[in-house]
């Protein structure tokens, strides 16, 4: 046996074992990510009721303080080939209005859209945020999750109508997820993955290549705020502290960034949630971060693959993260959790005046009262 063949043999064995270790680690990591040994245990923070079963998906929620309204996007299921109506509605959170008209307390009102010559037939709204100017004007920014028309749509609220102002599209948008507004026509958006759908996206998730991104739009120009983020989903902004929060679906964590004056982002810390965040709401008063999450990722993957089958449901979870005075430590509480029987695959959350609205990707919109919101 020559030294060459000994060396070749050694290299072969070395390569084999390295590959074995890598493949083993990969498989184990995928299995851990799928949350196979997890489940949720049902509980509510107070009495709950379903607001609507009409729409397949209430994937985006935003609360407008000046109007005491929650704006709701519906019809996300259309992006997954469900035949469902799409649009935007609102819910009035004002309890005084509810006292006047108890019969309509839990009604939501659909808004008509004036498209101003834009073709709205491909509009599948998902993530949404709002900006209230000092003169009372309310602007809505809505992500279109249509696979072939990934755009950001600008609307202005006119009582019960929406006026379309413009649409911003870019080739970088492959899977828009969520949006958070930092000023008039200025916002951050999350792009989940380099591939928009199908098996390429699945492989990207499995390999955890971290090809997602956070983009910043300054009113005229799009720039990359953070690149190489692992599956960014929920995004929220605390304007008092100037902190941007970005959730990671696969990593099951929350990144926080300091927003500098020039709108560049400085990484602060990563909070391990051990649940996959999808939607976010930042309380302006307290700075608490509310998260709508998919706690069992294997269930969610199955549910997103077969969204029209009632039996294939996914767990829902709402977390509330309270930051302590130092801004560096926090307490996590879980106001709501459900195994999917009541609400499946929670995707958005809003809290106001001891009320909570939970939206879902393909199903119902839930309204809950919080009996003890100070400890929930």
């Amino acid at each position: 046996m020559s030294t060459d063949s000994v060396f070749v043999h050694f290299v072969q064995r070395f390569v084999f074992w390295v590959l074995f270790a890598m493949i083993s680690c990969f498989v184990l990591r995928v299995l851990i990510t799928l949350d196979l040994n997890k489940r949720v245990y049902n509980h509510t923070p107070g009495p709950c009721r379903v607001l609507t079963e009409k729409y397949k998906g209430t994937a985006g929620l935003v609360f407008v303080e000046s109007q005491k309204r929650v704006y709701i996007t519906f019809g996300y299921g259309k992006a997954h080939n469900l035949s469902t109506k799409t649009g935007i509605a609102f819910y009035d959170t004002n309890r005084a209005d509810a006292a006047k008209n108890p019969q309509k307390q839990y009604d939501i009102t659909e808004m008509s859209v004036n498209w101003n010559d834009y073709d709205g037939s491909t509009f599948i709204p998902t993530g949404i945020d709002a900006y209230s100017s000092s003169n009372g004007r309310v602007l809505l920014y809505v992500l279109n999750s249509h696979p072939d028309h990934q755009c950001i749509h600008f609307f202005q609220v006119d009582q019960l109508k929406l006026n379309h102002r413009k649409a911003f599209c870019d080739s970088a948008f492959t899977s828009l997820q969520d949006i958070t507004v930092v000023g008039p026509d200025r916002f951050f958006v999350t792009n989940l993955a380099a591939f928009g759908r199908g098996w390429p996206q699945v492989f990207e998730f499995a390999l955890q290549t971290g090809q997602g991104a956070v983009y910043y739009y300054d009113g005229t120009k799009l720039s990359t705020a953070v690149s190489g983020v692992n599956t960014p989903t929920a995004i929220g902004y605390d304007s008092k502290k100037r902190i941007l929060y970005v959730g990671s679906l696969i990593r099951e964590s929350l990144y926080s960034y300091k927003v500098n004056k020039d709108m560049s982002l400085e990484s602060l810390y990563e909070m391990m949630l051990l649940t996959s965040p999808i939607g976010m709401f930042v309380e302006s008063k307290s700075g608490d971060v509310w998260i709508a999450a998919h706690p069992v990722l294997s269930e969610s993957a199955y549910h997103y693959t077969y969204p029209d089958q009632k039996r294939v449901s996914s767990s829902s979870q709402v977390l509330r993260i309270r930051f302590q005075e130092d801004g560096k430590t926090w307490v996590t509480t879980e106001p709501y959790a459900n195994d999917g029987a009541t609400i499946s695959a929670s995707s958005s959350i809003v809290f106001h005046d001891d009320q909570m609205l939970i939206g879902s990707s393909f199903g119902r919109l839930l309204h809950c009262d919080l009996t003890n919101s100070h400890i929930t």
Binding site: D35, N37, Y41, T44, C48, T275, A341, N372
Partner: protein, 367 residues
């Protein structure tokens, strides 16, 4: 070539075993806090409230405190075993330690699981699993003297089949079911038993004179009978399941009905007046192990969880409601949850820490 295949197969088995062990220790789990209402620590028990008995007829509760479980030679046992009495009618948030008369081994009294039986004259008889400081086991019968507010020792029962008793269910004046949560008597042996899967615990029935094996080669933690005494619930904490069995006392026989997967380590049980099963659970096993390795170290805490199970009529499925979850700062390593006052209040016990009294102001039926 054959050797290579065998080697690879063994390697795959080892990787799979390692993975299963990691999942068993719940390395990818955590707890998110929530409470059903305002909670308070009850003054009195500080070193455990491992099991709770609610005597509805008298509106009182008993809690066992000062457990010794798989003691380590290097950790001194500085606490004493006690049984506390708590008045459910008032909100004093104070529990009273009951003196025990005629106990033969006062220093070796460390109570664990408990059950009770009402005697014909109305007296309450407690059945208590007791470990000594050197981890010897017995079942102690104590009668509650209401006037003197003390417990009177009636009988101590030792049996070779009480291998490592955990919980007990009274079935008569001197008969009971007792669960063994393993066979190992030391920490290291228990670790081997848990990891290897060669469990030596089980279920034993004592008829007043003789003991009978019912289940073997498993782990039985909390046990309880349904209110009609026909259905037995057994916590197989090692598998994170609850076993449901028919119990035939006349023929001293069990028949397995179903097994409910909980994905959390449920400990002791309570059955309420609506036939819901309540349990305190350990959702993250690695933290529970850390906490129980040195219960006196207050910096070691374990997450807690209180669940309510509602079974289908045939006991094949269960709906789960989570009443409370805590990361350990308020309640560390919960073992049992006992609702009272029509479900508006609940007592929560822990392995080696406080007894907690909570109000319940959230709905539990919401489907």
């Amino acid at each position: 070539m054959l050797l290579k295949i065998v080697g690879l197969a063994l390697l795959a088995i080892m990787v799979q075993f390692g993975f299963k062990t990691l999942l068993m220790f719940d390395v990818n789990k955590r707890i998110y806090n929530h409470r059903p209402g305002v909670c308070r620590k009850i003054e009195g028990p500080v070193h455990g409230s491992e099991d709770i008995i609610i005597v509805e007829a008298k509106q009182i509760a008993f809690a066992s405190s000062g457990i010794v479980w798989l003691p380590r030679p290097e950790t001194p046992i500085t606490w004493k075993g006690e049984i506390f009495l708590y008045d459910l009618k008032t909100r004093t948030y104070k529990a009273e330690s009951l003196p025990i008369r005629n106990l033969e081994d006062v220093d070796g009294f460390h109570p664990h699981g408990m059950s009770y039986w009402t005697l014909p004259d109305g007296r309450v008889r407690l059945f208590v699993v007791v470990h000594s400081k050197s981890f010897h086991h017995s079942i102690v019968l104590l009668d509650f003297d209401e006037k003197r507010r003390e417990l009177v020792h009636v009988r101590t029962i030792r049996d070779e089949k009480f291998v490592r008793p955990n919980d007990v269910v009274a079935t008569g004046e001197e008969s009971f079911l007792v669960s063994n949560d393993g066979g190992a008597q030391t920490v290291n042996a228990n670790a081997f038993e848990a990891i290897s899967g060669l469990y030596k615990g089980g279920l034993v029935y004592y008829d007043g004179e003789l003991s009978h094996h019912l289940l073997g080669d498993t782990v039985a933690n909390g046990i309880i009978l349904s209110r009609d005494q026909k259905t037995l619930f057994v916590s197989h904490i090692n598998k994170e399941t609850i076993g449901i069995y028919e119990w035939d006392q006349a023929n001293i026989a069990t028949r397995r009905i179903s097994e409910i997967h909980t994905l959390t380590g449920c400990d002791n049980f309570y059955v309420d007046e609506s036939d819901h099963l309540w349990s305190g659970c350990h959702p993250v096993l690695k933290d529970a192990i850390g906490h129980l390795s040195n219960p006196s170290d207050l910096s070691l805490v374990a997450p807690s969880q209180v669940l309510r199970f509602t079974f289908s009529k045939d006991f094949q499925t269960a709906e789960l409601v989570e009443l409370l979850a805590d990361d350990g700062r308020l309640i560390s390593a919960s073992t049992v949850g006992c609702p009272f006052d029509g479900g508006k209040q609940i007592l929560i016990g822990t392995v080696a820490r406080d007894l907690i009294h909570c109000d319940v102001s959230v709905p539990l039926d919401f489907y």
